[in-house]
């Protein structure tokens, strides 16, 4: 692969310019200005709302694809279905994890100022490479600083998700019971009804969990001090 920093990107292959350099962070010190521009752009992805909306919209078809694949495989062999569902869920989980890390990760420009006290453009190639490698490492291992704003935003998002989960679970449980009672499963109806009971109680457990956690953790109300009391 021809890599010649002095002569810019002209001598590099199409593969290197478009794809290759993402997979070789160990050679980051050899990146040219074009690649650095791309890297910096990606390090700021979490800050652009349009891109975040795109990722959020992509999540729905990804989930639908995953369900479709698992359903197809499970009909061939239940164990293969389990394995495929586990793999696809793990992949989706990793994707969501990388997005969550991306939100809290500091851009390369800010890292440059914090760690070297200079703008990114003013850094030496070695320093840029070190910053990039540290950013990649932190991203992979999830070593990001969750400050108070990040923690609050996560909490707010979790609250909103939970508020959606309540009605969604009620609809799901009602639908499950309807299918169990009125579906064409005469032979297995009683077994299905047992699973419906379990699903109902699981939903109740999930919906009651925040109140139970509060009951367990909320401290006693402080009493009025003697000097002020009647």
């Amino acid at each position: 692969m021809p890599v010649n920093v002095k002569n810019g990107n002209k001598e590099r292959s199409w593969f290197w310019k478009k794809i290759g350099f993402w997979f070789v962070p160990a050679r980051s010190e050899k990146l040219g200005p074009e690649e650095w521009a791309k890297v910096r752009k990606v390090s700021r992805t979490g800050t652009r709302r349009a891109r975040r909306l795109l990722f959020a919209l992509l999540w729905v078809p990804t989930l639908a694809f995953e369900i479709a694949v698992s359903l197809r495989v499970v009909r061939i062999d239940p164990w293969a279905g389990l394995i495929s569902a586990a793999w696809l869920t793990a992949l989706l989980g990793l994707w969501v994890r990388s997005l969550r890390i991306g939100f809290a990760q500091v851009s390369l420009d800010d890292r440059a100022v914090t760690e070297y006290g200079a703008e990114f453009d003013a850094l030496k190639e070695k320093q840029r490479g070190d910053l990039f490698q540290r950013a990649v490492r932190d991203g992979l291992f999830g070593r990001v600083k969750v400050d108070e704003r990040e923690a609050e935003l996560r909490l707010r998002a979790q609250g909103a998700a939970y508020r959606l989960l309540g009605p969604a679970l009620l609809v799901f449980v009602t639908g499950y019971w309807a299918v169990c009672l009125f579906g064409p499963f005469e032979a297995t109806r009683s077994a299905l009804a047992v699973t419906a009971v379990v699903v109902t109680w699981l939903a109740a457990l999930v919906l009651a969990a925040p109140t139970m956690i509060r009951m367990w953790t909320q401290p006693d109300e402080p009493e009025e001090t003697a000097a002020v009391g009647e």
């Binding site: 800010d110 100022v113 108070e148």
Partner: protein, 82 residues
């Protein structure tokens, strides 16, 4: 209730980058940007840390009411003293 602040003005006045202020008060640089834009209301602890960093009382940096511009305030003080 939105909380108004003078972080951007104070930063510009002291030629301080977001990243530097952020590392000194212990938050991510993007948090300083959100604070300046009024998209995030800081905790009391963070508000006090920022005010302390600038060496000002907290009410000089944060206010529930919109701030008057610094130039207006300085001009008025000068007028009062004259």
């Amino acid at each position: 209730m939105p909380l108004h602040n003078r972080i951007a003005v104070l930063r510009a006045e002291r030629k301080l980058s977001r990243a530097t202020l952020a590392s000194s008060v212990g938050v991510n640089p993007q948090t300083i940007g959100f604070l300046e834009r009024g998209d995030y209301t800081p905790s009391l602890e963070l508000a006090f840390k920022i005010a302390e960093h600038f060496g000002l009382p907290v009410e000089a940096v944060f206010s529930p009411r919109p701030f008057r511009t610094l130039s207006e305030q300085v001009y008025e003080t000068h007028k009062r003293e004259a």
